[in-house]
Amino acid sequence: MKKKTLDVKIIKKLIPYIIQEKWLFIVGLSMMLIGSFLRLVDPLIIAHIIDNIVPIKDTEGLYQFAGLFVIVILLSGLLTYLQVIILSKMGIRIVTQLKFKMFDKFLHLPVSYFDHNPVGELIARVESDCENVRRLFSDLSVTILGNMLFFFGMLTVMFMRHFDVTLILLIPISIVVITVFFLVRYLGSFFRLARALNTEVTGIIAEYLQGISIVQLFNRRQQVMEILKNKANEKRKVESKASFTEYSFWGLFGFLIETLFVVILIYVLAPQILAGLVTIGTLIVFIQYTQRIFWPLMMVSENINQIQRAFASLSRIFYILSLEPETNHEEDLFSGSVIEMKTTRPVSYRDTIDFKDVSFRYNKDEWVLKDIDFSINKGEKIALVGASGSGKTTTVSLLCRFYHVSRGGIFVDGVNITDFGLKEWRRKIGLVLQDIYLFPGNVKENIRIYDNNIRDEQIFEALAYVGATNIISKLSKGIESEILERGQNLSVGEKQLLSFARAIVFNPDIIILDEATASVDVRTEMKIQNAMDKMLEGKTAIIVAHRLSSVIHSDKILFFNDGQIIASGTHSELMDTSSEYKKLVELQFLRTEKAIG
């Protein structure tokens, strides 16, 4: 019962989309109605020819009805064709809209959403859920509705032509219908199982091929073969059983339709035909109809699963569309209620950024950051060091407002950053991540991220500034050159320089840099170092540091451990004052020095 109300809710949400396409909907639907009706007619024409034209040798009448037959066929073909196209168009339009809305929604969701939902899953949602929905419009609902109409149409005609026979036939018809319904359900579970097993088999093959060197070096060939054989055999058995059941049933089913029904028809109708009460045409109509009457029902029962799937997809889509976008609202951590923020203030940044006792945790989990307290003067360079997971990245994420500070606050010239407009604040920041993300498109769009307020000259300037001009001259179409998937036509160093240019072109006041750890050769390393120095010139910089030089050249180092800052100061200060820092440097750096001698 609960499921029903859910479906009703979904349909309600879907209605506005259908209303937008109401003309396509109405025209498509009416064509379907007429088409279903026309499909009933052709056996009747045959019957008419046999009953009324052949006995009186009416050649003229034959031509007329043959002509009528041609017209009926052509018209029903044309209508079906147009109806499918029109309703598909409606489906694709609605789905395209849903896709766009979902994408738009995703872009505006808070970063934390992406932490909890793997990218692959999100893509699957946009693509496969929408495709399921599309089928709901194009063929599913149409086939189902059309076939139901066809079925009842046939029954009506049969009743009109011969009430008694139809009544008798109704008993075996209902038995067959019910059996088919249960069989389809029964087989459905088998096929689902077979599909799941197929996925498992594929998984086994993929996994052991990926780990082939382990399998070979550990001499595990036999064991792996056994694992595959067992699973594959399980699959084979399920599939064989399902197919055999299915085909045996079709055999029985064919027997019922073609033999049993005809025998019933002969028994009931033959005496009446011989007595002149019923025509041979009627017998032919019944033979034809009994053969046709089940297919629509087959289709319906087969498609019901897909309808359910489409509804499940729709409910997921609408769920995503209902999510709260990232705004200036802040959730109250304890009550969970949303506190409406005051009107935003214009962003101004002149002197300092202060982290005041900033703590952070996801929901009610353990604290990730505890009482982080520091300040940065404008133009300073701060290095964050510490083991991975110690809170460096979270700290810069809070500054970017990817997450909400749970306790305490971040202040710019005394103003809490949550008082600023979200986008206006982020515009002040240039973010360079450890993994360099390149978007599909050309170099230009990658640097300006589709912001057409940024002119080509600015892009050239930025590229020249970080020393990336020769990358562009190497490419055939300059900054209009397409970047291949994942930047395959660029080297690691080149990608890094492009990401610097991207940060520069937006002319931010603050640069947040998560240094890349990828190993590059010495010359590239030098280039990156120079570009980095130039990029940070005159900016306030917060660097999640992986290079020694970044640490040494920074104005202040914040040493993170377990979500807390356990020491801060310049490199030389910290070497004197903090034994932990000294140990870190020794372990990670000086020992290398020593070992190297």
């Binding site: 045959i46 020819i49 046999i50 034209i53 052949v54 040798k57 034959l62 043959a66 066929i73 064709y81 196209i85 694709i92 738009d104 995703f106 872009l107 970063v111 990218v119 999100l122 893509i123 693509e127 594929t202 780990g211 082939i212 060197s213 382990i214 070096l217 550990f218 595990r220 060939r221 073969m225 084979r236 197919s243 299915e246 085909y247 079709w250 055999g251 027997f255 073609e258 002969i266 005496p271 011989l274 002149g276 041979i280 970017c400 240039g430 991540l433 993300y437 978007f439 599909p440 498109g441 589709y450 190993s519 010495v522 170092q529 290079r547 640490v551 372990l587 290398t592 070992a595 190297i596």
Partner: protein, 586 residues
């Protein structure tokens, strides 16, 4: 004879009884299908004749009675024949099972030249969808072949029956069919390119989605959400067009398919109708033709389709054979030395290149390591470090030069036995689906609980495992929990140590442990495994302090080897490399 046909015949030669049974059922099915309209014709004609003498017959005359029996007999045979696709399906599944197992076992025996040549994803496709998907190998092997036979038989029998009933009408009604078929095929040929076009639009969008979601922080930090979505709108617009083109084409094909038999029937109604009116044929014949026409259309459309899927299956068979035929260097000598204790490992002027490549990956490598040595292989990315390990373990056969274990050439050594003495930790710490325990015990048929615990201790996983809810029964791998890179690599180390190897091989240890814990690891290994020989590829210079010797490679050549201090002093290239590496903090 075509080699693919030979291949198919060979597969079937093991299943002869089933082959004959299926052949029999196929022909039986075709025959009863063709007989059915004749029985209906007899019914109608009999009724017609009876009606011409009104009042003579009543109830169910014996003529009709016998026709009813005929219906029942034909129906029963047909019921049996109709179940035979079930046998086909069972054999499809059987072939799928047998063929996949066989080719998977071939792959397991391949060397690294093979895995360098074929990407994993490609191999998976060849072993799964190439075999399983409709209408590829498995389907074609049984259903495809027998459906072709069935279609061919049905067409021939139907046409024969039609000629038997009335040759004149047969000619007239078959005439429009070739035209209809031509239209059908011209249209379906377009489908492929349209489908491809749409598929490209789909992957473009998926690509955009992936990059957008992975790069969400960048988009947000530059506040470009609204600008960014413009380009998604563009590709959606493009997709709408390709989608509509595809739907239109598909619908057209469906329409032709659904309505094609009506066109044959039109000919029957016009020509047959005239003949009935002129008393040239009976109403029964008229109706039989009407039925036959709808019967032969689909086999006729099917046959060329089956031919196409046969060609597709042939391509897939060739792709499987390519796997089997890919040359693997087999050990040349028949000697199978088993080595008790590995005392020395020597490379003598060893070079290696992949057979499909021009350049050597490594050239003229010579070195010797003794039992208990710890050797670090160092050098820039692509210098050939992992290749050395591949050669050492026999995964890669050298093109020239010789690798000797205890002075015995490696190709005269029983590889299985040799590998049982190796513990290997791969670069990508690959874990298999299963529990933590399954993974650690992967290379071992049985092991003592004490050893298991002490090894957990060495890799410093005890505490972490105790924090998991299911302890060491916690599932890892594709469907298991997500472990950090370091945890995975430590499990991989445990898996290697569990075999109590004489040689321990680390292909890059950087990610697994922080510098502190690395020290403890090396101490424990020395303590527990005494004079174990180690080969370590590492990017972390700090590891140098735990090794005896360094082998420095660059661009496939051995530049220097020996104690770190010594070669640092003597070899300027090494000095430069170390200085470069020092720039980045690990």
């Amino acid at each position: 004879m075509n080699k693919n046909i030979k291949w198919i015949i060979k597969e079937w030669s093991n299943h002869k009884p089933m082959l004959l049974l299926l052949l029999f059922l196929t022909l039986l099915s075709a025959i009863v299908t063709v007989i059915y309209p004749i029985v209906v014709k007899r019914l109608l004609d009999t009724l017609q004749t009876m009606m011409e003498e009104p009042g003579t017959y009543s109830g169910i005359p014996s003529e009709l009675q016998s026709i009813i029996w005929l219906f029942v007999i034909v129906g029963l045979v047909k019921m049996l024949a109709a179940a035979y696709p079930g046998f086909r399906a069972i054999y499809n599944a059987k072939f799928e099972y047998l063929i996949r197992n066989r080719y998977f076992s071939y792959i397991l025996d391949k060397d690294f030249g093979f895995f360098n040549h074929f990407r994993t994803g490609d191999l998976v496709t060849r072993l799964t969808s190439d075999i399983t998907d409709f209408p590829k190998i498995a389907w074609f092997m049984c259903s495809g072949i027998f459906r072709s036979i069935e279609s061919f038989a049905k067409i021939s029998f139907c046409v024969a029956a039609m000629f038997y009933l009335n040759s004149h009408l047969t000619m007239l009604t078959l005439l429009p069919l070739p035209i209809m078929m031509a239209i059908f095929y011209v249209t379906s040929n377009k489908l492929h390119s349209s489908f491809k076009e749409n598929q490209e639009a789909v992957s473009l969008i998926n690509n955009q989605l992936e990059m957008s979601f992975s790069g969400i922080k960048i988009i947000k930090s530059f506040a470009c959400e609204d600008k960014y979505k413009k380009f998604f709108t563009e590709s959606l617009g493009h997709r709408f067009k390709t989608e509509m083109r595809l739907v239109t084409l598909e619908t057209r094909i469906r329409m032709i398919y659904e309505y094609i038999d009506y066109f044959g029937q039109i000919a029957v109604i016009v020509f047959g109708g005239i003949m009935v009116v002129r008393n040239e044929i009976t109403v029964g014949t008229f109706f039989a033709f009407y039925t036959y026409l709808s019967m032969i259309i689909y086999p006729m459309l099917d046959l060329p389709q089956l031919f196409v899927s046969g060609k597709q299956a042939f391509v897939n068979i060739e792709r499987l054979e390519e796997i089997k035929d890919f040359a693997v260097k087999k050990p040349s000598a028949k000697m199978k030395h088993q080595i008790e204790r590995i005392k020395t490992i020597a490379f003598d002027d060893v070079s290696f290149k992949y057979s499909n490549k021009e350049v050597n990956i490594v050239s003229n490598i010579s070195f010797k390591a003794h039992q208990g040595n710890k050797v670090m292989i160092i050098g820039p990315v692509g210098a050939g470090k992992s290749t050395i390990l591949g050669l050492l373990t026999g995964l890669l056969p050298p093109n020239s030069g010789m690798i000797r274990i205890n002075d015995i050439p490696l190709d005269q050594i029983d590889l299985t036995d040799f590998r049982d003495k190796i513990g290997y930790v791969p670069q990508e710490p690959f874990l298999f689906t299963g529990s933590i325990r399954d993974n650690i015990l992967f290379g071992k048929d049985s092991a003592s609980e004490d050893l298991y615990r002490s090894i957990l201790d060495i890799v410093q996983m005890k505490r972490e495992i105790s924090l998991f809810k299911d302890k060491d029964a916690t599932k890892v791998g594709q469907r298991g929990i997500t472990l950090s890179g370091g945890q995975k690599q430590r499990l991989a180390i445990a898996r290697a140590l569990m075999r109590q190897p004489q040689i321990l091989i680390f292909d890059d240890i950087t990610a697994s442990l922080d510098a502190d814990n690395e020290e403890k690891l090396w101490e424990d290994i020395s303590k527990q495994f005494g004079d174990i020989t180690c080969f370590i590829v590492s990017h972390r210079l700090s590891t140098i302090r735990y090794v005896d010797n360094v082998i420095f490679l660059d661009s496939g050549c051995l530049i220097a080897q020996g104690q770190h201090d010594l070669i640092l002093e003597r070899v300027p290239e090494y000095r430069e490399f170390v200085a470069g590496s020092r720039q980045t903090m690990p």
